[in-house]
C-alpha cells in the first residue's frame, strides 16, 4: 500500500514534466520525481522494528544482524541525493540561459521565436 502512494508521487512528478509549460515547473516536477525514487529505495530496505545500521561499542554482532535494516540501499541513496543537487544546479543554469536568450520562461513562446 505504501509503495502505491510512493508511486503516485512519482506519477505526479511525471505529469509536471510532461504537461507544464513553464521551465521552472518542469524543473520542480523532475525534483519531485527525484524525491520519490530516493524514498522508494529506502522503503524497500526497511525491516519491521529495525534499528539503524550503526554499531555501538557494546552490541552483540549476531543479534545486531538480526535486527538492523538494510544498509546497502542507504549507501546508494546517500550518493544519489548529492548527485541530485548537482543536476539541479545544471538545470537551473540552463534555465537562466534560456531566460537571457528568449526573455521568457514559457516553452511555447520559445518555439515561436525560433529562427
Amino acid at each position: 500500500m505504501i509503495y502505491y502512494l510512493c508511486f503516485v508521487l512519482f506519477l505526479i512528478g511525471l505529469y509536471g514534466v510532461c504537461c507544464k509549460k513553464n521551465v521552472v515547473k518542469i524543473i520542480l516536477g523532475l525534483w519531485v520525481m527525484e524525491y520519490s525514487v530516493n524514498l522508494f529505495l529506502i522503503l524497500i530496505g526497511y525491516r519491521k522494528n529495525g534499528i539503524p545500521p550503526i554499531l555501538q561499542p557494546n552490541t552483540n554482532i549476531v543479534e545486531f544482524s538480526q535486527k538492523a535494516v538494510d544498509p546497502l540501499p542507504q549507501a546508494m541513496v546517500l550518493t544519489s541525493i548529492v548527485i541530485g543537487l548537482g543536476i539541479l544546479a545544471l538545470m537551473v543554469s540552463i534555465a537562466i540561459r534560456l531566460y537571457q536568450r528568449y526573455g521568457t520562461f514559457d516553452i511555447t513562446e520559445m518555439r515561436k521565436l525560433k529562427g
Binding site: P52, P57, L78, V82, L85, A89, S93, I96, Y99, Q100
Partner: protein
Amino acid sequence: MNNGEKGMSLIVKTVTRWIKGFIFLFGAYIVVFGHLSPGGGFPGGVVFAATFILITLAFGREYALRKIGKVLASELDSLGAILFLLIATLGIYFTGVFFSNFIEKYHPTGNFKLFSAGIIPLCNLSIGLKVGACLFMIFIILSVVRVIFEDGKGKLITTEKRDKK
C-alpha cells in the same frame, strides 16, 4: 531580490557573526566522526558550503569573495578530488587492488576510536572538502553572470556584470 551588494539588516549580520563558527564546527564534527556516528563526507561537505552561503547572503557578495575568492574555491575543489583519487591509487601500490583499505590491513588499530578504520577518515575529509567547495562555487556562479571578453590582442579579460534584465 536585490540584496547582492549590501547584505541584509543589522540583526541578521550580528547573529551571523556569532553563529558562523558554530555551524562550521558542526560541519567539521559530521565529517570527522563519519566512521563512528551517522554522517560522513557528503552531509558534512554540504554543511560547510551552507556556512559560506550564509555569510554571502548576510554580508553581501563582495565580503564573502574577499574571504574566499573564486579561484581559491575552485582550487580547493580540485584538491579534494585529487586527494581522493590519490588515496585510491595508493592501494595499488601497497596491495595489488585499486581502492583497498591498506592502512587497516597492515596497521590495524582498535575499533571505535577516532583514528581507526584505515583510509575511511581520510576519504571523509577529502570528500567533505570537495563537496563543500563545489557547492559554494555553484552558488557564486549562479548569483553573478560572468562576461569574458577577448580584446584585440588575444588576451582574455574578465569583467563582472550583473545581468541586465
